[in-house]
Symmetry: C2
Subunit: 335 residues, 2 copies
DNA sequence: ATTCGCGCGCAAAACGATTTATGCGTCATA
DNA sequence: TATGACGCATAAATCGTTTTGCGCGCGAAT
C-alpha cells in the first residue's frame, strides 16, 4: 500500500504538503493540490489510520463490550450504537464477554492497549475490578442497561423498577392475584429491580406476593421460560398469569402453554419485558414492557461523544422510561 | 498512559530491554527482567497496540462487514466469529452495511485505512466494485453466506439449492401440491438458489410449479411473512403449505395463520429456512432447513487464519450442507 | 531601500513501539 | 596471550503520519 512519502515524492512535494491536502488544513496552492490529488488517485493512497492515531493520540474507535451478541435485546442495542457511531465517524470494536468476568477483564485490557477513545459496556456484574481499571486509565466510559452502584461513571439505564411496576399493575388490575414471575440468567441487579417493582405493585394493591411464585433459572432464556412454565402449570394451584422478566423467556412460556393446550390469554395471561421486535409476532402477540432499546444505544453514544469533546464533563446518569404495551397475551383471569 | 520509554528510564534499562521482556523474546537476565516487570506493574503499563501495529505491519484486527446486525441469522454468525477470533487473539471491527451499497463501500474504505489484517463479509450484492478494491489491495478476504460468482475470493456458503430441494421434497412427500414460497428482501442470489432448488424438486416429482405461488416482498422479514401469508390464504385456492425462505419470515406466516384461526399443521403446513434458535420455540415448533450458522462463522475465520499464515494460499470455496429438521409445523395436507 | 507581512512550502521532530546492528565483558580454547 | 564464542544490553533506524518552526520570495508600506 502506498505511503504518504511515495505520494509526496511522485508529486514532487513534501510529505507535509500531502498531509495538508489530505486533511484540508493550512495553505496549499491549487496547482499543488491538484498534482497531489491526482497522484493519490493513481497510487490508490489510503492514509494509515494507525500512523494518524499514533500521532494524534486518538483512534476514533469505541469499544463495545457486551455480554452476548446473539440475544435480540443486545443485538438491537449493538445495531443502534453502530448506526450512531458511524454517523459520527467512529468505528466500533466488538467484544463479547459471554457473561464471564474473566473474558470481560481480558477484553478491557485489550481495549486499553488498543487505545480506544471510549468504551460502552453492559457489565457482566460479576466484578467491578476490571471496570475500575478502565476508569483509572481515564477512558471515557458509559455503562448501559445494568448498573454497578458504587462506580462513578456515565450510565444509561431504563427504569426497570417502574416498568415492572407497570406490568404487575396491569395484571393486578385485570384481576389476577396468582401471578408467577420467571427470571433468567441475566444480570441480578436488573432482575432484582424488576422483582422489587412487582412487589411494590402487589403492596399497593393490598396483596401479598408469595416467594414460591418467583422462579429463577440459569439455562438459556428460551429454556428457562419453557421449563419453568411447564412446572408452574402443573402445580395444584397454577398461576393465572405469568410475568416473564424478559421477552425471550416469555416466548418459552408461550411455547409451554401451547404444549399444554392452554388457550391464551383466556386460560393464562403472559406478560414480557423488553419489547424486542419479535414480541409483536409471537402468538398471541405479547403484552410487554417496552424498553427504548434503540434510544438507549443512541443515548449512550451521545453521552460518550459529549464526554469526548469536554473531558471534564461530570458523569451523568440517564434513566429512560419504560412503557406498557398491551397486545394480545393478557386478559382477565378465568372465573 | 505510561510508555515504554518511561518504564525503561525508571527501571534503569533501555527500551529495547523492556520490549524484550514484554514479548518474551531474546535474552534478558532475571535480575533485569524482574526490575522491568515490577516497574510495568507500578506504572500500569499497557503496550500501545497502535505503535506495535505500525511497526509490525499487522493489526491483529479483522473487519466484519455484515448487512444487518439485529437479525438472528447474522447475530448468530457474528457471535460465532467473535468467539473464534477471540480464541486466536484477534479483534473484530464490526461494520453494518444496512444492505446499502454506499455504506458497504464506505466501510471498505475505512477497513483499508485501518489496515485490518483481513475481512469477512456478507456482501449486500448490489455491486462488486467495492469488494474488488479490497482484493486489489490484497487484503485477505472471506465471503460468507452470499456469493458473487465472478470474484476470485474465499467463500463459505451453505448449499441453498440442496437445502431448498430437501424442504420442497419433504412437503411434496407429505402430499402437498399447492406450495407457496415467500422470499424476503435478503440477497437475491441466495433467494434464487432456494427457488431453483424448490423448482427442481417439483420437476423431480413430476409436478408443475406455478409462478403465482412465489411471493417476494421488500419490507422487513416479519412483515413480509405476515402480509404475504394473509394475502395467500385469502385466495380462492389457498396453498396447503407455505415454504418461508427464512425462519423470520416463517414466524410472520405463523402469526398470520393464528390470526386466521388456522389450526397448524393440519390446515396449513409451514416450513422455514435457517434454523435460528427461535425456530424451536415458536408455535408450532418450526420444521426448517438448518444451516450450520455457527459452523459457517467458525469456518470463515479458520480459512482467513490459514490465509494469514500462508499468503500464497489459493482461494477456496467451502459449501456446508443444510439439513432438514422436522418439527411440528408440517403435516399432510387436509383431505 | 529597508522592513514588514503574508502566502506558501519544506525539514524535522514527535507519537510508541520493534528490531537490527553493535558493543562490551567474560570465559574457554588454542 | 590472543581469539573466538557467548551472554547480555544498548543505540539507532524504522513504521506512516501530523504538526511546529522556519525560510523564501514577493508586494506593500514606510
Amino acid at each position: 500500500m502506498a505511503t504518504i512519502k511515495e505520494v509526496a515524492e511522485r508529486a514532487g512535494v513534501s510529505v507535509a504538503t500531502v498531509s495538508r491536502v489530505v486533511n484540508h488544513s493550512g495553505y496549499v496552492s491549487n496547482d499543488l493540490r491538484e498534482r497531489v490529488e491526482t497522484m493519490m488517485q493513481m497510487l490508490d493512497y489510503k492514509p494509515s489510520a494507525l500512523a494518524r492515531s499514533l500521532r494524534r493520540q486518538e483512534t476514533h474507535t469505541i469499544g463495545l463490550l457486551i455480554p452476548q451478541l446473539n440475544q435480540p435485546f443486545f443485538s438491537t442495542l449493538i445495531s443502534a450504537m453502530e448506526k450512531t457511531l458511524f454517523a459520527r465517524d467512529y468505528r466500533a470494536l466488538i467484544c463479547s464477554s459471554d457473561e464471564d468476568a474473566a473474558k470481560e477483564s481480558a477484553y478491557i485490557d485489550i481495549l486499553l492497549r488498543q487505545r480506544v477513545d471510549g468504551v460502552i459496556l453492559v457489565p457482566t456484574g460479576h466484578s467491578t475490578e476490571s471496570i475500575k481499571r478502565l476508569l483509572r486509565a481515564h477512558i471515557p466510559t458509559v455503562m448501559i442497561d445494568r448498573d454497578m452502584p458504587d462506580l462513578v461513571v456515565n450510565r444509561v439505564l431504563s427504569d426497570n423498577y417502574a416498568g415492572a411496576y407497570l406490568g404487575a399493575q396491569h395484571l393486578l388490575a385485570l384481576g389476577h392475584r396468582q401471578i408467577a414471575l420467571i427470571g433468567g440468567p441475566r444480570h441480578s441487579q436488573v432482575l432484582q429491580d424488576r422483582v422489587n417493582g412487582v412487589q411494590q405493585a402487589f403492596r399497593d394493591f393490598g396483596t401479598k406476593f408469595t416467594p414460591d411464585l418467583l422462579i429463577l433459572g440459569t439455562s438459556p432464556e428460551f429454556e428457562v421460560g419453557y421449563e419453568s412454565a411447564l412446572k408452574l402449570m402443573q402445580r395444584p394451584q397454577p398461576p393465572t398469569a405469568i410475568f416473564a422478566l424478559t421477552d425471550v423467556i416469555a416466548v418459552g412460556v408461550l411455547h409451554a402453554a401451547a404444549e399444554l393446550n392452554l388457550k391464551l390469554p383466556e386460560a393464562l395471561s403472559v406478560m414480557g419485558f423488553d419489547d424486542i421486535p419479535l414480541a409483536n409476532y409471537v402468538i398471541p402477540a405479547l403484552t410487554t414492557i417496552a424498553q427504548p432499546i434503540y434510544g438507549m444505544g443512541q443515548t449512550a453514544v451521545e453521552i460518550l461523544m459529549r464526554r469526548l469533546i469536554d473531558a471534564d464533563r461530570p458523569p451523568e446518569t440517564i434513566r429512560l422510561e419504560d412503557r406498557l404495551v398491551i397486545r394480545k397475551s393478557t386478559a382477565p383471569p378465568p372465573t
